[in-house]
Amino acid sequence: MPGMGGPPGPGDSSIVAEFHHALALQGVLILALLTVLFVAWNQLRSMQYRRAVARGERFDRQTRAGDPEPAGRRFLRIAFGLVWLFDGMLQLQSGMPVGLPTGVIQPAATTSPGWVQHLVNSGLTLWERHPATAAASTVWIQVGIGLLLLVAPGWAWSRGAGLVSVGWGLIVWSFGNAFGGIFAPGATFLFGAPGAVLFYVVAGALVALPAAAWVGRRLGRAVLAASGALLLGFAVLQAWPGRGFWQGTVGRSPGTLTGMVDQMARTTQPRPLASLLSSFASFVGRHGWGVNLFAVAALAGLGVALLVGARAEPERARRLLFPTMVALAVLCIADWVLIEDFGFWGGVGTDPNSMLPFLSVVTGGYLAATRPAAAVGVVVGVPSTAPDVRADGDVPDGSRRVAATSGGPATDDDAGSQEPARPLEPVDPVVVGAAAATGTDPTVRADEGPPGSPARPAPPTRRSWWEGIDSRLAAQVAATVAAVGILLIGVAPMAAAAIDRTADPQIAVATDGVPNVTTGPAPAFRLVDQTGAAVSLADLRGYTVVLTFLDPVCTTDCPIIAQELRTASDLLGGAAAKVRLVAVVANPVYRSVQTVDAFDRQEGFDSQSNWLYLTGSPAALEATWYAYGVEVQSSPAGGMVAHADVVYIIDSHGTIRRILDSDPGSSDATTESSFSGLLASQVSQVQQQ
C-alpha cells in the first residue's frame, strides 16, 4: 500500500550497523598496516641495537638539533592536523550516514541560490546512494589528513599534506558546506561564514607553500591583512540594515541573531550549555541593537588593527598585534561558545565551526609576521630532519643546509636573515651515542680517538646501510606511510562509490525491512499475459520468477516498482535471460488486456522481453491474490485501489525463496536504485542455490 515505507532516519539501525561494519573492516586493515609498520621499525631498531652491542658500542640516538620549520607554519600544521583529526572523530557519530545529508548539508544549502543547491545536490547523490561507505570513508580521509599534517617529515611531505588538505577541504566546503553560506541572504561571520572548512583550505595552502615563502615577514603580513579585510567586510555585512541583526525581536518573532542562538540552544547538548545559550538568546532578544553594535565595532576594530599591524614596522607591529590577538581570541572564543555553540553538538556536527580555525589562521599569520624564519638555514627540497647520514658518516650534498648569505643588510621582509647560519655537521649517530657515553667530543670520529691520542685501528667490519638510518626519521616515515595508508583506505571506497550508480541495498532494507528467506511451493495460477496468451506458473519452470502485483492505473507505487524490477533485471546482465519478471493485475475494475497494454506502453515495457503482465477474470485474479496473501481493496470517492506491495522470488523449480516488501514509500532515485540492487542480489542468490 502506498506510503507505508518511510525513508530511513538518522538512527536507522541497519544503516548504522553497515556503517560500523565498514568502519570495523577498514579499522582492521589500518591495524594490520600499523602492525606491519611498527614491526618493521622495531626490527630496524633491534638490528641496529644488536649490531651496536656486537661492536661494543652503546646504542643511543641523537637526532640533529635545529628544525628549520618556521613557528607560524608549524603552528598551522599542528593545529589543523589536530582539527582534521577531531573532525574525523566527529564523523564517527552514528547519525552521520543518514543524518549528514538531511541534517547538515541540505539545510546549509536551503537558503543559498539555486545553482549552489544544484551543486550541493549533485554531491549529495553520492552520499545518499552509499551512506555507510561515504561516512566511513570520510572518517579515514580526515584522520589520514590530520595524521599526515602532524607527522609528515620535512617540507616536501608536509607540503603534500597541505595540498591534500586543500583538495579535501574544497570538496567539503563546496559540497558539504554550501560555500559556508556566503551566498545565502543571512551570511554572518558570527554564525560561521565564510565556513570553517575554508580556513582549513587556507591553512593547507599556507602549509603547501615552498620554504622560501616563509622567509621573512611578508607572508605573515599578508595573512594578517587578508584576515583584517575579511573582518572589515563582515563588519559591513553585520551593520547592513534590513538583515534583521539590529533587532533583538521583530514583533513576536526573534531577530536574526536571536533566532540563530535560540536555534542552537535547542540542539541536543549538555543542559548547562543549553541554559547558557537560552540565557544569551534572551539577552540578545532584549538588547539586540546593543549586541549588534558591539559585534560591528569589534569586527571593524579588530579588522583595522590587523590591517594596520600588518603594515607597521616590526617593533610597532609587535606592540599593536599582541593585544589585537588577545582581543581576537576573546571574541572568537566567546562567539564559539555563545553563538556557534561549539559547532559539534547534536549528533551530526562535523566540525568545531569557524571561530577556532579562523583564530588559528590569524595566529599562524601573527607568528609568521613576528617570528619570521631566516633566509639562511632553510633546507630546500629535502626533509628537514632527515640526517641522510651515510654509513661513512658523510652527508649528501643535496641535504646540506643552504649556507647562503643575504648579500646585504636585512630588510623588513627578510629580517630573519640576520640569524647566523648553523651549518650541519656530518655525524655518525651510533658514534655519537658512544661518544656521548664516554664524554668525548661527538664530532670526532670513533676511529680517530681523542685529540692528541694515537689513532686506533678501524673496526673489523663495514657498516651496513641500515645502521645509519635515524630511528626517529624511520618512525616519522612509518607514521607518514601509515597516514597515507589511512587516507587511501578512505579514498579508495569513496572513489568506488562515486562511480557506482546503484545505491546500497541497505537503504532498501532500511525502508522495507530485510527480505524474508523462505522455502515453500509457489501457489499455481493460470492467467493471460499482455498479448492475451494463457500463462501458468508451470509454464515458467526453468526460470527464476520475480512475481509482484501491480495496478495498471496506479498513480504512485506501481510504475515505480515496475521500473525497479526492470533495473534489477538490467543489473543481472546475462543472468536475466533466465529470469521472468511477472506482474499480476491488482485492480478489480481495470484489468483488461487493453489497460495492461496501456500500462506497458506507459512504462516502456512493450520491448522488455522477460516481462509478463498477467490478468484474467475476476475469479482467477482473486484466487491468485488470495493464494499469495495480497489484499486488494477498491477505494471510494476517487481513491486509488489499495493493495500490498510485495515481490516474491520463485526459483526455477517453483519454490518461493524470498519475499520482499516492495513499498517504495516516499521514493526517490536513490531508494529505487537501492531496491533494484537488493532485488538483483537476492535473485542472484536464488539462482545460485
Binding site: 502506498p2 506510503g3 537558503t111 541560490p113 556566503i182 551566498f183 541572504p185 551570511a187 607553500l209 615552498p210 615563502a213 622567509v215 611578508r218 607572508l219 599578508a222 591583512a225 587578508a226 579585510a229 572589515l232 567586510g233 559591513v236 555585512l237 547592513w240 540594515p241 534590513g242 538583515r243 590591517l307 600588518a310 603594515r311 633566509a375 639562511v376 647562503a404 648569505t405 643575504s406 627578510d414 636573515s417 492505473v553 496506479c554 498513480t555 504512485t556 510504475p559 515505480i560 475494475v589 481495470y590 484489468r591 483488461s592 487493453q594 489497460t595 496501456a598 506502453r601 506507459q602 477498491s634 477505494s635 471510494p636 470517492a637 476517487g638 481513491g639 486509488m640 485501489v641 489499495a642
Partner: protein
C-alpha cells in the same frame, strides 16, 4: 641563496582588493531574500467545475478534499435524477481521480466518465454507467484526455467522442463498446477548414440529440467562437472541404480579434449549448452560445457578453435546466471571497446576475427553475438552493468518504 618570496598574494593593496571581492561576493546576500528561488507548486488541475442537466438527470463535478495539495484533491461526481431533489455521490471507482474527472451525457441518459492523468499515470481510462452512476463498467481510451470539462461526449447509440491531449491533440471517436477508436479531427484539420479561426487547441466536444458531433476550440485572432460541426456523410456542407468539418462560429462580441475558448459544450434540445470565454488583453468576458446540428439547422446564436471583472475568473459553469437550454457561470475573485452567478435562460435571453452567493461556492447547477450552489469543505459538501432569486437555503450536507493519503 636567499630567495625572494614567490607569493601569489603580494602587497597590502592586493589584500584589500581581495577583501573587497569577498565583500562583494558576500553582499549578494544582503538585505533581501528575494534572490532565494521559491518554487511554487503548480495548482491542481485547471478543470473548471462543471454541471450538466439533461431531461434524465443532472450531474456536477467538483474538487473536494485539500485543494492546496494535489495528491489529496479528489474530484467527485454527484448525480441527481430527474424528479428527485437529492444529490448523491456517483464517483466511479477503480482509479485515483486527483487529476480531474470529466463526464459526458448521452440523450438516453447514460454517463461516460473519464479520469484525467495524475501522478505517475499518464493515460486516461473511462467508466460508463447506464443507471446514473450506481454501477460502472470500465473502458479504455487511446491516450490522455484533455483537461477540459467537456472532453467527453456520447451519442444515443453509445458512440463516445473524446478530446485527447496525448499522444497528440486530437478528437477520437469510438466504435461499439469502446473497443476501437478512430481519429475524427485534428487541430490542423480544423484550422484548415476556416479562415475565421486559428485553432490552437480542441477544448470541448458535444453531440446533438440527432447524433451530430460538434467540436469547440480555442481560437486566436478571432471574433467568433471556435465551433465546428461534422459535415454529414457525402459532404455538401459549405466550407467543409476535404476536412469533413465546418466552422459554424458564433459572434461573441466585438470586432477586435481576440482569443476565444469554448469552455463548455453540451447537448440541449435543438443542438448544443456552450460557454465561450473571450480574452482581449487584460479584458475578459463570457458568452453563451447555441448551435444547431448541421445543415438546415438554425444558425448559431450567442448571448451578449458578460464582463469578467479584472482579477476574477470563471470558477464553474452549468448547462441545462430551466427550459433545457439555460447557461450559468460562477465568477470568482482570485484574491478574495467575491462570487457572482450569471444566468442565461436560453438563446436570446439576457444575463441575470446575482451577487449573493453562499460563501465558498465552487460549483453551481441549474435544475428546472432551481439553482444549486455547492460548497465543499474537506470531506463535507454543503448544497444550497435558490429558486427564482429567492434567498439561498441549505438543502443538504453530504459527507464524502475521501481516502486521504491514498494517492501519495
Amino acid at each position: 641563496v636567499t630567495r625572494r618570496l614567490p607569493l601569489i598574494i603580494g602587497g597590502v593593496a592586493t589584500v584589500v582588493v581581495i577583501g573587497l571581492v569577498v565583500l562583494v561576493l558576500t553582499s549578494g546576500g544582503t538585505g533581501t531574500t528575494q534572490s532565494t528561488a521559491t518554487v511554487v507548486a503548480p495548482p491542481p488541475s485547471a478543470t473548471v467545475a462543471a454541471a450538466t442537466t439533461t431531461p434524465v438527470r443532472s450531474t456536477v463535478v467538483l474538487a473536494m478534499g485539500h485543494p492546496g495539495d494535489p495528491a489529496n484533491t479528489f474530484y467527485e461526481l454527484f448525480e441527481r435524477s430527474a424528479g428527485r431533489s437529492a444529490w448523491t455521490l456517483a464517483t466511479p471507482p477503480g482509479v485515483a481521480d486527483n487529476g480531474g474527472l470529466v463526464v459526458g451525457h448521452s440523450a438516453s441518459g447514460s454517463l461516460t466518465a473519464g479520469f484525467l492523468p495524475s501522478g505517475a499515470l499518464t493515460f486516461s481510462v473511462l467508466a460508463t454507467s447506464s443507471d446514473g452512476g450506481t454501477t460502472w463498467a470500465p473502458g479504455e481510451v487511446p491516450g490522455a484526455l484533455a483537461p477540459w470539462p467537456d472532453a467527453l461526449a456520447s451519442d444515443q447509440g453509445g458512440q463516445v467522442y473524446a478530446v485527447l491531449d496525448r499522444p497528440s491533440p486530437v478528437v477520437v471517436g469510438s466504435g461499439a463498446g469502446l473497443a476501437t477508436w478512430s481519429r475524427e479531427a485534428t487541430v490542423s484539420q480544423l484550422t484548415a477548414s476556416t479562415t475565421h479561426c486559428s485553432v490552437t487547441a480542441v477544448t470541448a466536444v458535444g453531440v446533438t440529440a440527432t447524433g451530430t458531433p460538434v467540436v469547440g476550440t480555442r481560437c486566436t485572432d478571432s471574433t467568433g467562437a471556435g465551433l465546428f460541426v461534422r459535415a454529414p456523410a457525402g459532404g455538401g456542407t459549405a466550407g467543409a472541404g476535404r476536412t469533413g468539418w465546418t466552422y459554424v462560429g458564433a459572434g461573441v462580441g466585438g470586432s477586435t480579434p481576440s482569443t476565444t475558448t469554448v469552455l463548455r459544450l453540451q447537448a440541449v434540445p435543438g443542438g448544443v449549448a456552450g460557454v465561450v470565454e473571450r480574452q482581449t488583453g487584460p479584458t475578459a468576458s463570457v458568452t453563451g452560445v447555441w448551435a444547431g446540428g448541421g445543415a438546415g439547422s438554425a444558425a448559431p446564436s450567442a448571448s451578449a457578453p458578460l464582463a469578467v471583472p479584472a482579477g476574477w475568473s470563471v470558477r464553474a459553469t452549468a448547462i441545462g435546466g430551466g427550459g433545457g437550454s439555460s447557461v450559468a457561470v460562477l465568477l470568482a475573485s482570485s484574491s478574495g471571497p467575491g462570487l457572482r452567478i450569471g444566468t442565461l435562460a436560453g438563446p436570446g435571453a439576457g444575463w441575470v446576475t446575482a451577487g449573493a452567493v453562499p460563501a465558498g461556492t465552487t460549483a453551481v447547477a441549474t435544475v428546472g427553475g432551481e439553482t444549486d450552489a455547492f460548497v465543499p469543505s474537506g470531506s463535507t459538501l454543503g448544497v444550497w438552493a435558490s429558486t427564482a432569486g429567492s434567498p439561498w437555503r441549505r438543502t443538504a450536507t453530504i459527507t464524502v468518504p475521501i481516502q486521504y493519503g491514498s494517492s501519495s
